[in-house]
């Protein structure tokens, strides 16, 4: 959080002009979507499935350490690909335009304990609409942490470095609980709500299936390698969880990212919405492989501006978006993964304690605009 609104220098017209320029970038990509993009996602899906099959095949002999190492590494990467570049993006509807019922947001299911239907609601509808709005966007600390000075401190937050670490290790369960809004719904009155019970049941079913596959069937198929395969799938899930948690922390928690007050989004225009996404997200810089393994969430800013554009296009979009940041004199928050992870963790530690200085108010854009 900064004391000064970093967008204060923009007039209302400039913000709308910015919105139109972003719309033009979006339209250009949509008009150019085609065969190459379709071939890309099919290739990624096919590669992911082959990698998973081969890795699980190798793990049948996981009693031999080289096989364990190779199989576990392969399965970890396959699970990351499934969740990040494929699952997250397909569920965003990035590939719906292909009209292939096998690669469509309404039919896709991922290797994750949260059923895709529930995740789509909490992620696509809530988080992407109310990005970084305190009290509206539960991604701001996932309801267990304080990640901005403007969030109220509670003694519970003293433990947040630990909560965050546990959440990282079991991230998929954290997400399932989050999608269920467990914190809110475990109150006695809400627990009986039939709608909540149905959703909880769906999560239960999904967990059962996932656990059965990873921790019972696959180890059993491995025969004498039962225990080592069990350890391998557990490790692969752990690696996937920690990796995706780290990537996602980098999206909105690093220093320099802005948060917004509830009332600041009242009557928000398209341009203002875009501006909030620009200021509320942070990128990760790195190689092509790095972008791929993050599911292109390393282009978090571009993803938040255009959540439904195909992920393979974010890199080219980023060049144009960055130029707009410069043109409008805005800060493009980005950095290498270790730096961004460190920055996010430092915030988690720092904000586990109450604010030191007297509380500074979040800039209220509405008032600023009126003044301008």
């Amino acid at each position: 959080m900064t004391a000064i609104d970093p967008t204060a220098h923009l007039t209302a017209e400039q913000i709308e002009e910015l919105g139109r320029e972003l719309d033009a970038i979006r339209d250009e990509v949509i008009a150019g979507r085609g065969e190459k993009d379709a071939a890309y996602i099919r290739k990624v899906i096919s590669a992911q499935r082959k990698l998973e099959l081969v890795s699980r095949g190798v793990l049948l002999f996981s009693i031999f350490p080289p096989a364990w190492l190779l199989g576990t590494a392969g399965l970890s990467v396959a699970k990351i690909m499934d969740n990040m570049e494929i699952g997250h993006n397909v569920l965003h509807g990035q590939w719906d335009w292909m009209r292939d019922p096998k690669i469509h947001s309404t039919t896709w299911e991922w290797d994750h304990v949260s059923p895709s239907e529930q995740w789509k609601h909490s992620h696509n509808e809530l988080h992407h609409t109310y990005t970084n709005v305190i009290g509206k966007d539960n991604d701001l600390g996932y309801g267990i942490m304080r990640v901005d000075e403007d969030q109220k401190w509670h003694p519970f937050h003293l433990g947040q470095p630990l909560w965050n670490f546990i959440n990282a290790c079991f991230f998929e369960y954290g997400i399932a609980a989050y999608d269920l809004e467990l914190g809110k719904n475990l109150h006695k009155r809400r627990r009986k709500n039939p709608e909540f019970r149905a959703r909880a049941k769906a999560v239960g079913r999904k967990i059962r299936k996932q656990v059965l596959k990873d921790y019972v069937i696959h180890p059993l198929l491995s025969g004498p390698s039962f225990l080592t395969t069990l350890a391998a799938t557990f490790t692969a899930n752990l690696v996937r969880n920690i990796w995706s948690h780290s990537v996602i922390m980098c999206g909105h928690f690093p220093e320099g990212v802005q948060v917004f007050e509830r009332r600041s989004i009242k009557g928000e225009t398209r341009g203002q919405w875009y501006l909030r996404q620009m200021m509320g997200s942070a990128n990760i810089s790195g190689s092509k492989a790095m972008h791929f393994m993050t599911g292109n969430l390393s282009h978090q800013i571009e993803h938040h501006l255009f959540p439904d554009l195909p992920s393979n296009r974010y890199a080219e979009v980023a060049v144009k978006v960055r130029a707009l940041f410069e043109k409008y004199e805005l800060e493009y928050v980005t950095g290498p993964l270790p730096k961004q992870v460190f920055s996010a963790w430092r915030k988690v530690f720092r904000l586990s304690l109450p604010n030191k200085k007297p509380k500074v108010k979040t800039p209220d854009r509405e008032q600023e605009l009126v003044a301008a």
Binding site: R33, G34, E35, K36, D37, A38, A39, S46, R49, K50, L53, G93, D96, W97, M98, R99, D100, P101, K102, H104, T106, T107, E109, W110, D111, K206, K209, Q210, L212, K213, I217, H218, L221
Partner: protein, 336 residues
């Protein structure tokens, strides 16, 4: 359970997309140009293909610029082809996304989606003594499937095309004529003008006695239906239409696709299929002309208008509508 959340078939599809039990697909094996704007596509269908009857069509799903589009095409191969391949013959129509793609850009080796063959524009079990095929343009395709499949003692064909070089299968037809298996009249409409149905008396004096299969543009078929009815022999005429004849449009309304959670405004002339596709909803589709029922979808609320007849259908439990020939008639809710 081993493959959750995927199915074993998701993995098998990687290696054997045409196997028995898979979703029905086909592989394009060759593309043979027929005329300047028509080509025959040779398809190896998957193991689940049940075979067709001469004159039937098949719905195929082709990825054009990465987008899966479904269309219906008549099968032109005989039913007893030794190698088990089937062919469709496609004429590129102006602005036709799929037809232009198939004629000009389709490559051997490409996988396409298939449906089982269907259609009742077929030959009867009992062989008629005398047959007339009345065709125009690409309307020749289902009839070619019949000609190649079944021989009759007495076949007359009257075919219209703009110019001689536009006649699809021209060499093969002329070979049949040389072998005395067919009597053929070609009407070249660029020079001769459109076929006046009254000329049939002169071209085929015994037309009224012949079992007739007609396929071509709506104008020809409308005229034929009228002519055969006038002479009281309409039961001898079998027709196949490639396009719906849209007559009625009215006011549109808000269309909700409740399963996807999208609401858009639609005018009263645009088929709901197009409206849904435009909005990014996963709409099933097929012939796009109201015959194959590949697009039927439950109507949950509101009313829709059949674009061919103007008839209004109102929502009731169990009511299914053909989205390709229905437009919004006020606000409505489509379960997609």
């Amino acid at each position: 359970m081993v493959t959750t959340p995927l199915l074993p078939s998701d993995y098998l599809d990687l290696v054997s997309p045409l196997r028995a039990g898979a979703d029905l697909r086909g592989r394009i094996e060759a593309v043979h140009p027929e005329t300047g704007d028509a080509a025959t596509i040779v398809i190896r269908p998957g193991r689940g293909w049940r075979g067709h009857t001469a004159g039937q069509y098949v719905r195929i799903g082709v990825d054009v610029d990465g987008v899966r589009l479904w269309r219906a095409y008549s099968l032109t191969s005989p039913t007893n082809r030794q190698d088990g391949r089937v062919t469709i013959t496609v004429k590129a129509i102006p602005d036709g996304k799929v037809s232009n793609h198939l004629v000009r850009r389709a490559k051997p080796g490409t996988l396409i989606q298939l449906d089982q063959p269907t259609g009742d524009f077929v030959l009867p079990q009992a062989k008629p003594a005398k047959v007339l095929y009345l065709t125009a343009g690409s309307g020749i395709t289902p009839v070619m499937g019949m000609l190649r499949d079944t021989e009759f003692d007495d076949i007359v064909m009257v075919h219209s095309a703009p110019q001689p070089q536009d006649v699809i299968f021209r060499n093969e037809l002329h070979d049949l004529v040389a072998d005395k298996k067919l009597r053929l009249t070609e009407v070249h409409t660029d020079t001769d003008g459109m076929l006046d149905i009254a000329r049939l008396d002169e071209l085929v004096p015994d037309w009224a006695e012949r079992e007739t299969w007609a396929c071509g543009p709506a104008g020809l078929l409308d005229a034929a239906e009228e002519h055969w009815t006038e002479h009281g022999v309409q039961e001898r005429l079998h027709t196949e239409r490639f396009r719906p004849s849209i007559v009625v449009a009215g006011d549109g309304g808000e269309v909700t696709f409740s399963a996807t959670g999208k609401t858009v405004h639609a005018d009263g002339a645009t088929p709901l299929l197009d409206v849904g596709e435009e909005a990014g909803v996963l709409m099933p589709s097929g012939c796009r002309m109201g015959i194959c029922f590949g697009c039927v979808t439950p109507l949950k609320a509101g009313a829709v208008r059949d674009l061919r007849t103007g008839e209004i259908t109102e929502a009731e439990p169990g009511v299914l509508i053909q989205t390709c020939v229905s437009a919004a008639a006020g606000p409505c809710d489509i379960e997609r």
